[in-house]
Symmetry: D2
Subunit: 265 residues, 4 copies
Amino acid sequence: MQKDFTLPSTKNGKSQIVFEPPWHYGATYISSHVKFDESANELLPDFLTTDGEGFIYIAEFISMSDSTWDYMYQDPDLVQYMEGAIGLKVIFEGKDYFYFPFMWVDKDWALVRGWLDGFPKKIAKISMSRLHPLLPKYNKPEKGLKLGGYVVRGGGVMFRLQVNLEEKTDSLPTKNFGSYLNIRRFPSRGNGEEDLYELTSRVRDVSNYGEIWKGTASVELGGYVNDEVDLLKIKEVYAGYYYTSYFRVTETKLLKKLVSKMNSF
Amino acid sequence: MQKDFTLPSTKNGKSQIVFEPPWHYGATYISSHVKFDESANELLPDFLTTDGEGFIYIAEFISMSDSTWDYMYQDPDLVQYMEGAIGLKVIFEGKDYFYFPFMWVDKDWALVRGWLDGFPKKIAKISMSRLHPLLPKYNKPEKGLKLGGYVVRGGGVMFRLQVNLEEKTDSLPTKNFGSYLNIRRFPSRGNGEEDLYELTSRVRDVSNYGEIWKGTASVELGGYVNDEVDLLKIKEVYAGYYYTSYFRVTETKLLKKLVSKMNSF
Amino acid sequence: MQKDFTLPSTKNGKSQIVFEPPWHYGATYISSHVKFDESANELLPDFLTTDGEGFIYIAEFISMSDSTWDYMYQDPDLVQYMEGAIGLKVIFEGKDYFYFPFMWVDKDWALVRGWLDGFPKKIAKISMSRLHPLLPKYNKPEKGLKLGGYVVRGGGVMFRLQVNLEEKTDSLPTKNFGSYLNIRRFPSRGNGEEDLYELTSRVRDVSNYGEIWKGTASVELGGYVNDEVDLLKIKEVYAGYYYTSYFRVTETKLLKKLVSKMNSF
Amino acid sequence: MQKDFTLPSTKNGKSQIVFEPPWHYGATYISSHVKFDESANELLPDFLTTDGEGFIYIAEFISMSDSTWDYMYQDPDLVQYMEGAIGLKVIFEGKDYFYFPFMWVDKDWALVRGWLDGFPKKIAKISMSRLHPLLPKYNKPEKGLKLGGYVVRGGGVMFRLQVNLEEKTDSLPTKNFGSYLNIRRFPSRGNGEEDLYELTSRVRDVSNYGEIWKGTASVELGGYVNDEVDLLKIKEVYAGYYYTSYFRVTETKLLKKLVSKMNSF
């Protein structure tokens, strides 16, 4: 049997799109803590509900498997990606979880790695402010600094986000959102195959933060024919954040299997 | 239970990345029938072997689910994609199959749809000649016309292909390659989960061809750190082809399940 | 002296971004004839005025210099580009001209070639319906067919356009828009340099049309911080068109030089 | 007369592709000081010669006009770009200059701004290592760190560059390359128009460096049909560098005008 974590399966295993965990993530985020109205439930499967508390972010990641540190200099595209996401605090079987109906990235391996763990990633164009230490302005995070970005997919702007920094803070509101809730979907593709939803929870076995800045935020929601972001309405923007983070992922925990008969042929 | 074929799972189902089959494919190909040397086996999992007969192509697809014809005018990016691939005639349990160690596309939904059916797709930049009926040259396929293209991923050229048309022909050499052999890979992501390879065969329930042109071809193989195309050596280029095709896909047939213990944590 | 038409200037001249004319253009368009309100004058330099009659299009081009036909198979990216544009019928010194405040393309050589002749091209993501002859639907232009596309630049949708075909027609409304009016801009970059606007008119020395289809159209205008498309308001959408065209360009005619002193340092 | 520095010329001036200088540049570079063989002269116009001393770099820029600082958060794509370049120490009329036969960027405004000042920029895909302060490795520049990147245009890899850091140093070898030498090219586009080359020198009115790291480097040169990088042969790689820099540009100095008659029609 092969030693490939993912395809394509070759003798050396060097062509696989995602390498075996642990995976390392160094990230820089702009984000906003928001309250959506109850229409946010339109974006959830039947077994989840939300009161509309949400978290929107854009982030730049440097990320690799333990076995692909050399990609850092051999092919930076294989360790760098941008991500934009819209997350909701949801309730599943009476317990709070952090669930993402929308997550966009700009690299194939980040997409496939996400799907392996139940994040419904799509490819988009994602842009975010970057500072430079030698510029006369915008050279470091500080009070009054404005940062922003956006996610664009196909013919639509998914969202734009701007954050205005005010002060350092100690933690993020997502610490109260619960564990991650992910959905792995295995649609039946032929006779006699199960049509399966696996509810899992991705685990961060290490998680650190650098500086966390808090301030105000403005969010413009868009969406288009294949991304129902327009179903979301913002009731309140609580705050904006800018922060760096490191985390490590090795495995997911299986919460529940749901077998459907609907997609039988 | 939801009616989503794929994620994200929403009430209307309009955000899913791939919609339920049947899927329609209108395609235009340039391709080359080649013989690789025996090193081609380096690109196969242990349960497959090849004598090196191969088929390389670049194609432009217009493709949709029965339920997404409206994307044709609403968002053409959701029905158009480019694809490049390197295929091998392989033997599995004594029978010939057509297997693709490498397949690159340029859209997320084409990638995810491919992975659902066991094609190890990655995202690449893919370019191919296109004709225009009103140009003074290159206005239609004809003897002497040269067509070409390439696939580039990250920091490497995967391959370049050029075809020189000579005459119309009736069929393609791939009719002797056998059925498709696909691998669906479900790596174990946590305690108690199977680490699974599913060998399946994708079925085309309708398949038509337009004009098929045959001629000579030239192929330059590249590859880079995450795509071992460099392990392939061409012994002979048999011919080049340019053709159009329509096919429809509804399901895959499960050939075998292989459960590994290797990726347990 | 070198024989390069454009830079970089090398001994063989093979690296130049745009090669010497004549240039050939094979194009497929979707477009809309519209009436903007008088705010369209906000998008014009002081020496031009408009009554708001306009023409919006998205097109796919196959285009080359007489000396670069081989790029067709060597590197299709060097002969293929997408273009989206917003044009206005303007008055300059009492005469009608066809002027483009906005023109977006997706290739560098198309951009530079445009700037040489006074089109203010920017790079954008441009998408447009493409038909395939073997698909069960959308296989040829016909009554009732809907085609569409869009232009997206950075964080904003510039415009979306959809056309619903009704019948074949003989000509386009732009035949009454006058000759092209282009602006070449040479800002002063140092002491003693003129700050120059050259008004020129690009000439098509051959121009043919294939089938022209007429129908209805819908246009959504967007724009963002660096593209003031939002200043345009549509009063009426007269019609939509789908057509193919071939034209050839060799030179421009200089209409007037305007020297400014404003940008002196 | 308009107040636009570049096109398109509108009443508010907010749509112009490049805004008036001064322009600020915050940059992070990996680079290599090399000796090419004498074939490097093949890449020069007749009025320049080189002994083959060269400088190759890939850089990430945050750059804006004094009037476009707000683009930092409104649209980061309008202030961020990647650049790759191959430079040569050349002799013009007996004096040393620093000249770039090849320069690739990934944004339209960076391309047009370059052409205004005589840099022959093309659009390419450019990738370069980025560090993250919270990662367990690759969190800061230090002895032994490997950084790399590449430039890919169309169907060809232009070059790949890797640098292995050894120690901090005080300056770069390019301080001995002379002032910049740029070529502005205005090909004749019609009857009675001059066909013009303007030799100018771009001036940095402020220029600072952050940390400069020196080490070894490896360079792989590529090129393809429209980029004659393959004419360069490396005789020696002297060293590799990693550094940050800030500079400001306001104007260029005109060195000489060369009028050709060759492109008359």
